[in-house]
């Protein structure tokens, strides 16, 4: 489209394309959220559901056994089998939001429940955490009581985000050395320079330079995981508590390492206590400061997880409100608007995670 086209036409075209993309994004949820009996025929995942019978038991994301043992209740459109509103919410919404061993690509249901690795070393740990533990939920709840590493939907999308980030950054390297970067290298370099000069180095100081690769990688990784949840048929791996817990664990490790490299192991812990307070106060302050070392990464974890899950939950809830087709006229524009908000939140949360990790690392490096 040449610049001779008026700005009104270009604006209209842009709105059309964006609106079309977001509407396509919502079609899978629209098809699946309708609890009418005809949904079983309409939804393209019907063969996936019959395969998902044993998968419902093997679902690793801590579905309690009482609910997971009825496969029909876990599939679309048979809500209320567990009783009440909770059953409807679980039956219709849950597999959009939590991890699952099956997911759909266009016209292609993908069933992952056979894709698993036997881990005999963890059998004892699995037995002791039988009832479901959100941080060890990657263990398959197999009826034979053995521990497996189950490949799940979030793991697949996390790996896809990993591949995307690697490809993007390798492609950006080609114009890395030149004075005027071109193409995707330009984009990546602009983002990296902004993060480095406005967000990370002002907060960590010049001693934070060795940790730059971590901050930049974590930003792009979280961003791509968040954005993959917005494309049609995609799901964001950061909507899984285990994934954000892993990221927060890496941030925690970085904070400790940064503090210990700057001040030594003893100095790192001694620096938690502020100067110039009377010594009895230290008895109260020391445990609080020590706990604060753990609550900061915990807050990072839950903030990212909750932001991503809440966005998808609201959209799923709006789709679930469509009990008669005419309601779609009201619900879909609202869901599209919330999808736009979610796009903003995806970028914002990646930025906030990076920035807060930089701030906390700087706090450990420069103690008062």
């Amino acid at each position: 489209m040449s610049r001779r086209t008026g700005w009104r036409i270009r604006l209209a075209h842009t709105c059309l394309i964006l609106g079309g993309l977001l509407a396509v994004l919502l079609v899978p949820d629209l098809v699946r959220a309708n609890p009418a009996p005809s949904a079983a025929a309409v939804a393209p995942a019907a063969p996936g559901d019959s395969l998902a019978g044993p998968a419902a038991v093997a679902d690793p994301h801590a579905v309690p056994a009482a609910h997971g043992s009825d496969p029909a209740a876990d599939a679309h459109g048979a809500p209320g089998a567990d009783g009440g509103v909770g059953g409807i919410v679980k039956g219709v919404m849950e597999h959009h939001l939590t991890d699952a061993t099956h997911f759909e690509l266009p016209l292609l249901p993908v069933d992952l429940h056979k894709l698993r690795i036997r881990l005999p070393f963890f059998d004892g740990l699995y037995q002791s955490t039988r009832e479901g533990n959100p941080l060890i939920s990657w263990m398959s709840q197999d009826p034979d009581g053995k521990a497996y590493l189950q490949v799940t939907k979030h793991l697949v999308f996390m790996s896809l985000a990993f591949v995307l980030v690697v490809v993007l950054l390798l492609a950006a390297r080609r114009s890395a050395g030149s004075a005027a970067p071109r193409g995707v290298g330009n984009l990546v370099e602009a983002v990296i320079v902004f993060l480095r000069d406005e967000v990370i180095l002002p907060n960590t100081g010049p001693e934070g330079r060795p940790y730059l690769p971590f901050f930049l990688t974590v930003f792009f990784f979280i961003l791509s995981m968040n954005l993959l949840g917005l494309v049609p048929f995609g799901s964001s791996a950061t909507g899984n508590l285990s994934v954000t817990a892993g990221l927060a664990l890496c941030a925690f490790a970085l904070m400790q390492v940064a503090g210990m490299r700057a001040h030594g192991v003893a100095g790192h812990f001694k620096g938690l206590l502020p100067h110039g307070v009377p010594w009895p106060v230290l008895f109260i302050l020391a445990p609080i400061e020590f706990l604060g070392m753990f609550t900061k990464p915990f807050a990072l974890c839950v903030r990212l997880f909750a932001n991503m899950m809440a966005g998808h939950a609201v959209i799923a809830a709006f789709m679930g409100l469509i009990v008669v087709p005419v309601l779609a006229l009201a619900n879909i524009p609202v869901a599209v608007a919330i999808g736009l908000l979610e796009l903003f939140v995806a970028f914002l949360q990646a930025y906030i995670f990076t920035m807060l990790t930089a701030i906390f690392t700087g706090a450990f490096i420069h103690q008062h």
Binding site: P64, G83, G84, V85, G86, V89, K90, E94, A299, V302, R303, F305, A306, N307, M309, A310, A313, L348, Q349, I352, M355
Partner: protein, 73 residues
Amino acid sequence: METIGLIGAGIGAGLVSLGAGLGIGRIGGSAMEGIARQPEAAAKIQTAMIISAALIEGVTLFGTVVCLLAVLK
């Protein structure tokens, strides 16, 4: 028992949104005042506003996740 849990979840989610609205509204208001007083500091004020809003929203979503857990269990 499940009904009481659901009622609690609903009320809790509403209260959580109330808290977030109050908090972020105050941040927005102060940011507007600051920008009105000193338009050349607008970029810095806007950055600080977005950061504070995201932090408060984090706390909000802690509560929302608890309510969601109450519904889904």
